[in-house]
């Protein structure tokens, strides 16, 4: 099969840029990376066939600069641009500018991005198509707020109309909290999206966050590639995703798939998108939003379907038809993804800066890692602290969980605090292990994690003391043995090899 394009530019960085570079390599397409000054030595730049500098470290002047990216595309002769996720991926203006430059945008049509980018407009459209939406306003929250909010009820969520990624969101439990929360949400929305419009939804709690993956070609074929449960979140942002969603009945799944299709049919849809829903504890689902791009967690769906979503996105963008094998695919087994962030889960998942030190990834059966960094990679503070995604696939959920536990135990990341310890805790957390969890898991059950236990303390003490005693010695040479308690001399001896 001939390559869909000769050259494709990737308007992104980190692991998703690496993911798209790999897809290009497999499709026989020359990949063009772009990089800011902070990323000149980054992994995606090393791995691409070519790389184009697009500006200084600040995202607004590089990865968010339509002009800089289009100039790089023209310089390198790119025939297509894949935007990845985040940055300009859902920016209708960017997609339009790309197509105006005669370059193919790998994603839904620009008008579709525009229609779904306004979350409030999307609520109206979707509600009109008889898809259940989260109860709440269909118009912006105005002044006086009490009129609209009385209908919505409390607790409520204030949300940015142009929003996404958890920004511009505020929970309000009582009417008197509204003015301050609205001001804060509007300020955050204006700063993040340049649009201060805020609306209100009833807070669904407890709720699961479940999303449906869609793929459509430009010839009218649309396929629903199963769902993903993304309820493990901190700051309304996902940490863990799995497919199939635990304990979801056939009827509910069918109803959600039907809702997802209806949402897609309200627009001129093609390429890849995800319809997000909340599930309440009575088994009702409510449309949240439709993301018109590849999701971070697309690999979960790839593992259970055996498909390559990025390759399919590129083929669809080149005008190819979805083959029968894709339209009739059946999921197999169970897949889980955990996101490895440079964040401190013992301190409210605060992002941390620094440079990656050791970088040892797990291997063997059923394990996949999509990484954006490697040993000794500096982490620019300007960008998202996602280091890598660790994905596992097993015959069923218990097998996948056991594999995830094993894979996490094989992973060693030095230099910076990561959320690895959170994930390792999660695997053995009773509710998660049983598949019984919702979006309250992180705030209610993890909080800032367990205290350091005596076994860990003892191990850390031994390792630290031994490391100091052995710090002058060459690697693999002598071993240090403590035959005595704290305070005595550490002896060095040759290990028996």
């Amino acid at each position: 099969m001939s390559a869909p394009f000769d050259r494709l530019l990737i308007a992104n960085r980190g692991e998703i840029a690496v993911r798209i570079i790999r897809a290009c390599a497999e499709l026989g397409i020359e990949s063009i990376a772009v990089y800011s000054d902070a990323d000149a030595g980054a992994l995606h730049v090393q791995m691409a066939d070519r790389a184009e500098r697009i500006g200084p470290a600040a995202a607004a002047e590089s990865y968010l600069s339509v002009e800089a990216i289009l100039a790089a595309a023209r310089r390198s002769g790119a025939e297509a641009i894949h935007p990845g996720y985040g940055f300009l991926s859902e920016n209708a203006g960017f997609a339009e500018a790309v197509e105006a430059a005669g370059i193919v945008f790998v994603g839904p049509p620009p008008a579709t991005l525009a229609a779904l980018g306004d979350k409030l407009a999307a609520r109206r459209t979707v509600a009109a198509a008889d898809v259940p939406i989260v109860p709440g306003l269909l118009v912006p929250l105005g002044d006086p707020t009490t009129v609209g909010l009385a209908e919505v009820g409390f607790p409520a969520m204030l949300k940015a109309a142009a929003g996404g990624g958890g920004r511009g969101m505020r929970r309000v439990d009582r009417p008197e909290e509204v003015p301050a929360a609205l001001a804060a949400a509007a300020r955050e929305a204006r700063s993040a999206f340049g649009d201060a419009t805020v609306y209100a939804e009833r807070l669904i709690s407890p709720a699961r966050h479940v999303e449906v993956q869609l793929l459509g070609d430009r010839h009218g074929n649309l396929v629903c590639l199963g769902e993903r449960d993304c309820s493990v979140q901190r700051r309304h942002q996902k940490l863990v995703e799995e497919s199939p969603a635990p304990a979801m009945g056939l009827a509910l799944r069918a109803a959600m798939f039907e809702s997802a299709r209806r949402v897609a049919e309200t627009v001129d849809f093609s390429n890849a998108a995800t319809v997000e829903f909340l599930l309440d504890d009575s088994g009702h689902h409510y449309f949240l939003e439709m993301n018109t791009r590849l999701q971070v967690e697309h690999g979960v769906t790839e593992l259970v379907t055996g498909l390559d979503l990025v390759a399919l996105q590129i083929r669809i963008a080149a005008g190819e038809r979805l083959p029968d094998g894709v339209l009739r695919v059946e999921p197999r087994g169970h897949a889980i993804e955990v996101r490895l962030y440079a964040e401190d889960p013992y301190d409210d998942f605060r992002p941390v800066a620094g440079t990656v030190g050791a970088w040892q990834l797990p291997g063997g059966p059923g394990v996949r890692v999509d990484a954006g960094v490697t040993a000794d990679t500096p982490l620019p503070p300007e960008y998202d602290p996602l280091l890598a995604k660790l994905l596992v696939h097993g015959g069923d959920r218990p097998a996948a969980l056991a594999r995830l536990r094993r894979a996490l135990d094989e992973t060693l990341i030095g230099g910076v605090q990561t959320d690895l310890g959170f994930h390792r805790w999660l695997v053995d957390e009773a509710g998660f292990a049983a598949g019984e969890y919702d979006t309250s898991l992180v705030p209610d059950r993890w909080r800032s994690g367990p205290d350091l236990g005596p076994a860990e303390t003892a191990l850390a003490a031994a390792a630290g003391a031994a490391a100091r005693a052995a710090s002058g010695t060459a690697a693999r040479q002598p071993a240090v043995r403590y035959d005595s308690a704290w305070g005595r001399l550490a002896r060095r001896e040759a290990i028996d090899r």
Binding site: Y346, G357, A358, Q360, A375, L408, T411, L412, I413, G414, G415, Q417, T418, D419, L420, G421, F422, H423, R424, G449, L452, E456, T457, A458, L459, A460, A461, A462, A463, G464, A465, A466, A467, R468, A469, A470, S471, T473, A474, A475, R476, Q477, P478, A479, V480, R481, Y482, D483, S484, A485, W486, G487, R488, L489, A490, I495
Partner: protein
């Protein structure tokens, strides 16, 4: 090297018997720690007295100080402390085995004040600066908790 004090996340700790330690890649801090035939890979980064041990993804600060380094560090703290009365407190929980000064004694920086047995080791508490002993709060044979007042210097 004789190690006299180990702190894990700031708290005094001790090492159990029989650990064996070997670097796998010292430059990146990977090492193998074994005991009773069981081993595990740990990540240990740092140098000198300050180390970070990563266990199960959690970065744990470990301070490893010799007697000399501990005295110097404490003297440094004392040196920057403002003048006036100084309280000497127990840095480890332990047993007072000897009191070397009497009420009203004039002492010089570095003079021994008390002997405390802690974690199977006998440690001398020395004067962090010159001064006169105005209070002696303990006596030999007494057990003290960490942070307990031992004596005051003027």
């Amino acid at each position: 090297m004789s190690v006299t004090e180990i702190r894990v996340e700031g708290h005094l700790s001790q090492i159990d018997d029989g650990w064996s330690f070997a670097w796998l890649d010292q430059a990146r801090g990977t090492a193998r720690l074994s005991r009773d035939g069981r081993s595990q890979i740990v990540l240990v980064e740092g140098s000198g007295t300050d180390w970070t041990v990563t266990l199960g993804g959690r970065r744990i600060a470990v301070t490893v100080r010799t007697w000399r380094e501990r005295v110097l560090a404490e003297a440094e703290v004392a040196a920057v402390a403002p003048g006036g009365p100084l309280e000497i407190t127990a840095t480890l929980p332990g047993l007072i085995v000897g009191v070397e000064v009497t009420l009203g004694s004039e002492v010089r920086q570095g003079d021994p004040l008390l002997s405390v047995e802690a974690m199977k080791m006998q440690n001398e508490v020395r004067a962090p600066r010159d001064g006169r002993v105005t209070t002696i709060a303990v006596q030999a044979g007494e057990t003290v908790a960490r942070g307990a007042l031992l004596l005051r210097l003027d």
